[in-house]
Point group: C2
Chain length 227, copies 2
């Protein structure tokens, strides 16, 4: 155990809280973000602010273009759904699902972990208040970890073992908001919206905004991004 | 089963033979290559030639930069080893190992498979005459397949099941050369070398060239790339 952790950081509420937890556990955090052709690049600016404010050792951004494949409202011209009720969000997988996104993100994190000799990867997935994405489920994360332990040089040489840490997986959005506040995180630095305006302000109507809003409301804490 | 397959294609002997096998099985082949900052970009030109000659439906190239992380002679300024004996190659993992490369490649293939509704991914990994890479082992491939079956929208909706096909995994290089010739593949189109000259001609001294040379010699077939 080196104490080093790779922290996937989108710059949203969940990944920021996840990074805060890794730091609180004393980890040296190497943050990793992705510019994958998403329409909400405001989150990359948020990720950079958050990484700096939480004392990350490094913050790397890997660029690739998932628009090449299409298939998601987040990376194509499909409309981002707005004003959906919780019951609608709970039914089926929305068009904002990006094919194999967490698999790709975790694979790059695995490469980064191998190079930096980190033994943990933190990812802020959540299986409670989420949008029905298959690659946020605990069984997916466990299967990825099993694969990762066979994928690396360290796995052959027997001197390394990767653990995928998902501290938020069983938390509600309200729990996450409360935990972030306990940790003293500045949530004004984050960006959650799938479809922000050109200045990066949230639309307050997409699934991500609505889930975030519900979390703050249930926690009884005002969202610093909503005025 | 749609008959559609994603075929990872580096443009070398192995991936070309693998694509030839997929085509021979009647698959509609969607080829996928990567420009990841490798020093041997000649292979991308080879991949395009091979995909066209074998009637691929599409050939996509995903670009990302693994030099961001470093850690491999293929993506940094470390020297590519030359003139190593087979016994040396069999010992340990060489500096040409790229951290988590096959994990990343297969993850993009999974995204591509999901968008194109392909049920198979063909990858030309080989666990016999190879360079000791952890992510070429059968147990790694099996673990990736297990993970992939939990990763996608189809896995939640129950209408899709991804299979990772590795037709070369138990073949020697000589077997691969023979199979390629049986299939009538034009191996003059391929590029195998880790360190080709500016015109794309092989160095004939790196591990990849030496393994290829051994394969052609043992098969008793002249290599069209070597004059």
């Amino acid at each position: 155990m080196t104490g080093r952790a790779i922290c996937l950081l989108s710059g949203g509420l969940d990944s920021t809280t996840c990074l805060g937890i890794a730091r609180d556990e004393g980890r040296e955090c190497y943050c990793l973000s992705f510019d994958y052709g998403q329409r909400h690049t405001a989150e990359l600016a948020a990720a950079a602010r958050v990484a700096e404010s939480l004392g990350a050792i490094e913050h790397r951004i890997v660029r690739f273009d998932l628009r090449e494949f299409g298939g998601s409202a987040l990376t194509s011209d499909l409309d981002v759904p707005k004003d959906r009720a919780a019951a609608q969000m709970a039914t089926g997988i929305p068009v904002t699902y990006v094919p194999a996104r967490n698999t790709i993100f975790l694979s790059f994190a695995l490469a980064y972990a191998e190079v930096r000799k980190a033994s943990e990867i933190f990812i802020g997935v959540n299986a409670i208040d989420y949008s029905g994405y298959p690659d946020c489920r605990p069984e997916f994360i466990q299967a990825f970890e099993n694969m990762a332990r066979l994928a690396t040089k360290a796995s052959v040489e027997g001197n390394g073992r990767i653990t995928i840490r998902t501290p938020l997986i069983a938390m509600s959005k309200a729990d996450i908001v409360r935990r972030a506040c306990e940790l003293g995180l500045d949530l004004a630095l984050t960006s959650t919206c799938y479809d922000p305006d050109p200045e990066g302000r949230p639309c307050e109507r997409c699934d991500a905004c609505l889930l975030r809003c519900k979390g703050f409301q249930e926690a009884g804490i005002p969202d610093p991004l909503v005025t």
